[in-house]
Symmetry: C2
């Protein structure tokens, strides 16, 4: 797969990416290398990484607990302290090897350690390959609020090696697939159709095309002033649903993709009501999503709490909930508003 | 006093600065305004600020505990949570009203909240006027390590109103004076001479000239790759001494300026040994510093711990302690090394 050039850094694919990483490290002459992993990636990904990666610099591995619940400032404190104890300096490099928690948190830890050291992202889950590791967003959650604390900071390089996908569950693959479907609906319907119509897909091709789309959007609007908001398709309601299931002890937590998939169904409904998005496509989306993700029970008395959580979304200004909606496939409109009544109706539509 | 233009923002002086602040707020159309204060500045500075500042936007005051010991991530967590509860969004403005703890911590909190909101610094101590609030550095301490966690981020504006200096102690004024002396030795010896030779000085003039010097240095090298390191004159040993006195329960904590003043004496000694800085100027510095700051007891068995703390200084790479030293007044050299033996000798020189 061909290299994709992001704003200030390359995204390399396949095994040749490790040679590029080795070159970067000798060119930049880092003083030491830190590799951030969690218990899963230490066991399942780190061996492959060390087989393909060569350096004569000192290497230290820092392990954190796996899971979104650990994507917080307390975990950052732990990593900052370990890096300090191990003598990390301004010329150290942090390599993140893991899913979105590792790449988001690791990028934030690196960008704030001694006011910023270099980092390289090696996403190992589908979700982090097509979304979290690309685009310069780093951050951690504050309580139930996702990515409330963070900075915009670019890695020196991203390594995309689809072999790591053999180490993750099919549920994780389904989760990342939701982001690919998202890019399909807003920019290239082929992606949605291939997933919808086939049991077997060429995943490396879908990843490459997804990153291409995300990269084009981010290059145009890195700080999310404007057009980058399109990447939040399905996410306004999706994040509310995700936070609600995470904080509610009676609910089993959803994956990010499962929540975003629900969000896309609801926001397709809003698109139809507000922008005249064709009703048959709303049905097509609902049917495809439920076929892939199953039907999640969201009851009527969950709606109010989900709405409250949506109001804390970072995209909102002056308390107004902000949507990107579709006029048609590949034809979106940012900065749309919907009444609370209509948002509740959209949740009821998913639920029906 | 004339406005100083920093990289991306103006530094306004005196009462007219409040009009500029009012203009900024209406031009940027912020959704809400948060004012970060500590117990001292809430009581002594906030009333003056509210008298001179006019806005029709919603204002919320956030108070933290005063003191360097609270300049940490736990305090940031508190502020992030309060801002979240009060509905701060990406178009909110944070105004910091206080000393270096407030401006450094506030800048960091703002730069990382929802990946960055605007902030304005209003320093109320001499130290923060001439140093902390200018130059784009934000951050908090990690344990005893000063500013270990932070980012480079510029405010939208700085307001310098020397009237606030009536609210601080003479010990604080002496602390800030050390930074003015620093600019004097490295860039404009007039500043050092005026302080050394006079009991009464025109403080507003000294502040304005100090900021001018710092701003020129920062414009040339914003990220401290190179020439900006000159601002660490006296700080390599000074930070070690400051951390040591802070963490040692048997010692009374020093102000930043008191520690930096000791650092300048020690580093003048190193300058003489390593770069041939004239010995009579070393004596002149030691005499002037002890006259202003008194003699602090640093015993021989403190030296090792101070050296250990110096090794964690952010400026170090690969474990080597990095100094800026003087060949003469207004003639410095960055990236100098000194043996541990010589560093201990320089502490003994101060102590003699």
């Amino acid at each position: 797969m061909t290299t994709i050039n992001a704003a200030t850094y390359p995204i390399h694919f396949d095994e040749k990416a490790y040679n590029e990483l080795t070159s970067l490290i000798s060119k930049k002459n880092y003083s030491s290398i830190f590799i951030l992993v969690d218990d899963n990636t230490l066991e399942h990904c780190y061996p492959r990484f060390m087989q393909l990666f060569a350096t004569d610099k000192p290497i230290e591995v820092i392990q954190i607990d796996a899971g979104e619940i650990h994507k917080n400032i307390e975990t950052c404190m732990g990593v900052w302290n370990v890096m300090t104890e191990l003598g990390a300096d301004r010329k150290s490099l942090l390599i993140t090897l893991g899913g979105g928690v590792i790449t988001d948190l690791g990028g934030f830890v690196a960008s704030t350690f001694k006011r910023g050291i270099d980092f390289v992202n090696i996403p190992t889950t589908l979700l982090s390959m097509v979304d979290a590791s690309v685009g310069g967003k780093t951050g951690v959650d504050l309580g139930v609020l996702k990515n409330q604390i963070g900075v915009f900071a670019n890695p020196e390089m991203i390594v995309i090696d689809a072999e790591y996908l053999h180490t993750v569950s099919t549920r994780e693959i389904r989760s990342g697939t939701a982001e690919i479907i998202k890019y399909g609906m807003t920019h290239d319907i082929r992606l949605f159709n291939e997933i919808k119509d086939n049991d077997q897909v060429n995943i490396v091709d879908l990843i490459h095309r997804s990153i291409e789309i995300k990269n084009e959007v981010v290059l145009e609007d890195p700080k999310e002033q404007d057009i980058r908001k399109v990447l939040n398709w399905g996410h306004t309601i999706g994040h509310g649903v995700e936070s609600y299931f995470l904080e509610n002890p009676k609910k089993e937590a959803l994956t990010h993709g499962e929540a975003i998939a629900i969000g896309m169904v609801c926001e397709a409904y809003l698109s139809s009501e507000i922008l005249g998005f064709p009703e048959e496509k709303v049905s097509e989306i609902k049917e495809a999503i439920i076929k892939i993700y199953g039907k999640i029970a969201i009851e009527k008395n969950d709606f109010k709490a989900i709405l409250e959580l949506m109001k804390h979304d970072k995209k909102n200004v002056a308390g107004e909930i902000n949507f990107v909606l579709l006029k048609d496939y590949e034809d979106f409109k940012i900065n749309c508003k919907a009444s609370e009544e209509l948002i509740k109706k959209s949740l009821a539509f998913y639920n029906a």
